[in-house]
Symmetry: D2
Subunit: 152 residues, 4 copies
């Protein structure tokens, strides 16, 4: 399993009159965590877009367990358990950094689109390569992605 | 079933470099649609809060089928199928108004919290009353909620 | 002067732990008001973009006088006082609809960019025409823009 | 002068169909930069709120010079030049980290409100103390705030 932790400090604008993070902002947290996971794997999303591939979100779900509060430092944990074919499945946990309490869980499904032809495609080889390397760490010899994307 | 349609015009700030609505904004659309559904039923959320009851989101899911584009007029359809006990379940459809194409579907689950005691409670009677009246239209004689929340 | 009123209902997600609208959202209100002003003048921004012209914001300022609260209905008043050359200047007032209290004032400056060449240009003729007609109402005979953009 | 640099990575959700950061998000960048400036000075905003003091924004202005793009790393520079009395004035620069190009400048004015009485007050002593220490570095002997808030 690929596992990456992205940290986010809760901002004032993200908190609602109940004094807690408004639920929609978790969707933004997951996006930032996803982007940083890809970067840690050595594949910035910007490069995928430059190669003509976009990855729209086709489904997402969130379950809210405990509230996050203003100025909390959050750990957003991204997990990838399998190689994508037509879709990439990501699992998430949001935890309060200090206590590691589980605040929310999430799932996001992405697909792959060839921007020029505006058609869905299979997962591009460049992505499969970095994911395969990170998912099968015994096969990777330089280990560079292991630093921030710890395989378990 | 309670069914309410809320209209939203897609704003520039909601569109991403792919030229389509960024997925997180649908969560905001659902919130606005929910608020207007309650208002149409005769129960503004502001009054619930004033009565010490808050309704946090405990779960949400979204499936994205077709993109929405800048300046599109959207129909956000809220559906309530059953009376809540500890949780209120809402179903959503997002459609392009002009063509009625289905762009996304969603589900949101709310719970009820007594703000003073910070404890979950059952659905408050004031909400059950308006929902029951709208869900069982044959029992309602004045029909006021029927105007904008058409029972089917 | 061109004057157009756009109405916005304050959403929960826009309110902060102080219980009032978080200041950044006023920038979004102004954008929506601007878009609807252009539409009321008969020139949807979408058509300008389709013609290859984009109008980036080059400056904005806001002064906050009184807070807006959850579920308030707001009047966002857009005012255009002069024909643009290289820049279009817009003035705004945000008022609580019910009481007409002045909550905020704003100014936004837009420029015009030819998207293909990525270069600043003068205000396009199609925009000058609709603005001139609305600014000099005695010259307009059909009066269509007067309905929602009352010249004073 | 107090000067603090906060870094922000541009997110996909912040970019518009022009492919650049939508202007409203700069307001959010300034808020995060302001919060981290206070934290670096040793005075988290959360502690001010806990002490019953809120600091609403009373005015803001932004000038946009060059666009920021997706995935850019930005330096948001907060500058405080003088001790506040009834108002705290902050100046900002937004620069592309890599090139140090100036992308935007901003000013934000905050006031101080006693939350219990809902009345404006003068700058609280706890804030004046940390600002004075940082503004007059020769008087500070421990130098702790100098690490991240370099006086010039």
């Amino acid at each position: 399993m690929i596992r990456h932790v992205y940290q986010h400090r809760v901002r004032y604008r993200e908190c609602d009159p109940m004094g807690m993070v408004y639920h929609a902002h978790y969707v933004d947290y997951l996006e930032a965590a996803r982007t940083e996971t890809l970067r840690a794997l050595g594949l910035p999303y910007r490069e995928l877009e430059a190669a003509g591939i976009i990855m729209p979100v086709v489904a997402l779900s969130l379950r809210f367990i405990q509230p996050a509060y203003y100025d909390d430092l959050l750990d957003i944990v991204t997990m990838i358990r399998e190689l994508p074919r037509a879709r990439l499945f990501l699992d998430y946990e949001v935890r309060r950094h200090e206590t590691q309490e589980l605040l929310a869980t999430g799932q996001v499904t992405l697909c792959f689109v060839d921007r020029a032809r505006n058609r869905p495609i299979r997962a591009p080889k460049v992505l499969l390569d970095v994911l395969q390397q990170a998912l099968a760490p015994s096969l990777s010899t330089d280990g560079q992605p292991k630093r921030s994307c710890l395989p378990k």
